[in-house]
């Protein structure tokens, strides 16, 4: 699904990723943990195609394609989804319309017929209900006036609608209370599938109690310094990131 080899990336002349390697196979859930400033969010943004990052060396292959050559909208249509840490507000653009346009652009890429208004509304209502999202929000402007938790759940709703192949969750747990966390995690778990992979970026082990990863990677200063199974997350929680740095 995704192979990252020896990736070196800088932002405004400063090296952020310093030789990162990662392989994610179809159906796997990988978690990346790390302290602030270790380069986790840079990796997420880079995979989604955000401008402003300079790839000095290394390569990223996604489903056999050179990911770095694709425009962000093409990556999205090809199944790369990023759940934003700070979702953006789009005043005056209704969530319903936004998401329908979005889904139909993804469907067009997959040579599927666009979904009509009624079919789409049914789908949206059903998925929103599963995430305990107030149906009124669907008619409101995208993220405008949404609470922090609503914004995060909205990201998961979008993921549930777009059904990506590679979903990257960037600190989706930050700012969520325990109930919201459960709802979000169950939304993610429902989407687990043989042909769908997840990259879960988080600062805390807490989220991984609900979304059980196949692999946990620890990132430090732009590199993955340790990889292991889900038990690595518990170890980290107990010993702190300092333990990795020292060892």
């Amino acid at each position: 699904m995704l192979q990252i080899k020896n990736l070196v990336v800088s932002v405004e002349g400063k090296k952020i990723l310093k030789g990162l390697n990662l392989e994610i196979r179809a159906g796997e859930i990988h978690a990346i943990m790390g302290a602030n400033g270790s380069g986790k969010s840079t990796l997420a943004h880079l995979l989604a195609g955000k401008e402003g990052y300079e790839v000095e060396s290394g390569e990223i292959t996604y489903q056999g394609m050179n990911l770095l050559e694709l425009d962000p909208e093409i990556r999205a249509r090809a199944g790369v989804f990023l759940a934003f840490q700070y979702p953006l507000e789009l005043p005056g653009v209704s969530l319903n319309y936004f998401l329908r346009t979005s889904l139909n652009s993804v469907r067009a890429h997959r040579n599927l017929e666009p979904l009509g208004v009624r079919e789409f509304n049914d789908l949206l209502k059903e998925r929103a209900k599963a995430l305990e999202l107030d149906p009124d929000l669907l008619q409101r402007s995208v993220n405008e006036g949404f609470s922090g938790g609503e914004k995060k759940r909205n990201e998961i709703l979008q993921m549930a609608i777009l059904e990506p192949q590679l979903a990257i969750l960037d600190e989706t747990d930050s700012g969520l209370d325990i109930d919201a966390l459960r709802v979000v995690a169950s939304g993610v778990n429902k989407l687990r599938a043989k042909d769908r992979s997840f990259l879960v970026i988080t600062h805390y082990q807490r989220l991984l109690n609900y979304i059980i990863p196949d692999y946990v990677h620890v990132m430090l200063d732009g590199k993955i310094v340790r990889s292991g199974g889900k038990e690595l997350a518990f170890e980290l929680e107990q010993k702190g990131y300092g333990w990795i740095a020292e060892s």
Binding site: G52, E73, G92, V93, F98, S102, S105
Partner: protein, 481 residues
């Protein structure tokens, strides 16, 4: 972030697609402005004597006026003696049917997407088309005549309904009003006239398309709409021009009169040639538009989508004289490349319980400069007058500007005046968010801009919403960069 700037640039730099020229012979007056030229215009139009008199008075007043300089726009001095003030397609004679219209002109209108034919019946639109200075054809005269509605070229109205023209011309915008209104009053060549009789709801949307075609000509049209007691009319104008390297002047005057309980809805989609990317060429759009709510419970509503012109100087206004009369102004103005717009409205409250609403959306991209200028004036007599103003600006890119100049004068303590303003910027992060959901940058900009303008577009007649949406997209193509 360099790459992102390029994207914004690409999205807002698309070409003007109405920039073609129609090759037809035209009958053009020599350049220059003097009383002989004015007499020539009046004679060509076979006008009654009072009109020539009006023109000459206006011309003498104009000579003593100075061009206004308070607007937030910059342009080199205009040589008013270098303009031809009359241009008409040759062999222009009164037309009885569409077959008699020069096929070249019809082709032009087709390319503009104005089917001057029965198709418009379905849409319920009656069209008058003004080509350079002369009205070419007015469709659906009969349907309108049955309802008693007069909708015809201004020059025809001057000949056939002189009593109405004499009574109302200059009653809302006197020839001495301002420099450009005086110039227009002296040299106006054609335009549309509409009279809706008492109690009649006009059965069709009325529409006029203005097209400047000939070189070195100015277009000075005059529009006069009178809605008699208890009547209703919705009128829509659209405008385009060919691409030219030199600037062309457009100085129109529009007067609206709404009598007791009458309603006028006036919509504009202005798409004059804006000049090229470097600011070469384009129309100077210096227009005076004003409506008088003369009777109690009358209502005048202006809606404008301004995407064209090198410079726009325009303030559609309402004089709320009748008690409980209502004035509305809904505006979207876009400036891209080197376009400049100074636009807004004046709401003059005279009657009791009068109400006005102003919703202005300014969008600036490229190196565009966009100013909102508005006056809300509440006179002593206007007890319980209310105004609500909302002025929002949106910036696309880092090299454009937006400015708001609201003026409020209240002479009556019972008045309620509210003003809200906001400025936002289409951010790279917003665009990335949309890209990440599979939307192209063009679609993302268009979606955000439409969201921003939603309230105003919703005021347009249904038939024109689609046209306006398309125009917004085209005007902003190449703006993200």
């Amino acid at each position: 972030m360099q790459e992102n700037s390029d994207i914004i640039g690409e999205v807002t730099s698309q070409d003007y697609k109405y920039g073609f020229e129609t090759l037809i012979e035209s009958d053009c007056a020599p350049v220059g402005l003097n009383e002989e030229i004015i007499a020539l215009i009046s004679e060509r139009k076979q006008e009654p004597a009072f009109l020539l008199d009006f023109r000459i008075k206006a011309f003498r007043t104009w000579k003593n006026l100075t061009e206004p300089s308070w607007a937030f726009v910059k342009y080199p001095p205009i040589d008013y003696q270098a303009i031809s003030y009359y241009s008409a397609p040759k062999n222009h004679k009164p037309l009885n049917s569409l077959e008699e219209v020069d096929p070249e002109i019809l082709k032009t209108y087709e390319r503009l997407g104005i089917p001057l034919n029965e198709q418009k019946v379905l849409a319920g639109v009656a069209v008058d088309a003004v080509f350079d200075s002369v009205s070419v054809y007015t469709t659906f005269k009969e349907t309108l005549a049955k309802a008693g509605v007069i909708f015809c070229p201004f020059s025809e109205a001057a000949r056939e309904h002189p009593e109405l023209i004499k009574r109302y011309l200059g009653s809302v915008v006197p020839y001495s009003d301002n420099f450009f209104a005086a110039l227009n009053s002296a040299v106006f060549t054609d335009g549309s006239f509409c009279y809706v009789p008492r109690g009649v709801r006009c059965p069709l949307e009325l529409s006029t398309y203005f097209r400047i075609n000939a070189k070195n000509t100015g277009q000075f049209e005059r529009t006069l709409i009178i809605a008699d007691e208890g009547s209703y009319v919705s009128y829509m104008e659209g405008c385009t021009a060919p691409k030219r390297d030199e600037n062309q002047l457009h100085a129109a005057v529009v007067e609206l009169v709404a009598l007791e309980k009458a309603q006028i809805k006036y919509s504009t989609i202005q798409n004059w040639y804006p000049g090229d990317k470097d600011g070469k060429g384009g129309i100077y759009n210096f227009v005076t538009k004003r409506g008088l709510c003369a009777g109690p419970d009358s209502k005048i509503s202006w809606t404008q989508v301004e995407t064209g012109s090198a410079i726009t100087w325009k303030y559609p206004s309402c004089i709320l004289k009748g008690d409980r009369s209502v004035g509305e102004f809904y505006s979207v103005a876009i400036t891209n490349h080197k376009q400049q717009a100074d636009t807004g409205t004046k709401m003059i409250h005279i009657g009791k319980d009068t109400k006005s609403t102003i919703v202005s959306k300014g969008i600036s991209a490229g190196e565009g400069q966009n100013s909102y200028r508005g006056l809300v004036k509440i006179l002593k007599s206007a007890t319980n007058a209310r105004n609500f103003s909302q002025c929002d600006s949106m910036l696309i890119g880092d090299n454009c500007g937006t400015h708001t100049f609201p003026y409020i004068e209240t002479k009556n303590p019972t008045a309620t005046v509210e003003h809200e303003a906001s400025t936002s910027k289409i951010g790279e992060d917003q665009l990335f968010y949309c890209n990440q959901r599979g939307l192209s940058t063009e679609d993302a900009v268009s979606m955000i801009v439409h969201g921003f303008c939603k309230e105003v577009l919703g005021e347009l007649p249904m038939e024109f919403v689609l046209e306006a949406r398309k125009l917004l997209e085209v005007s902003l193509e190449g703006s993200v960069g």
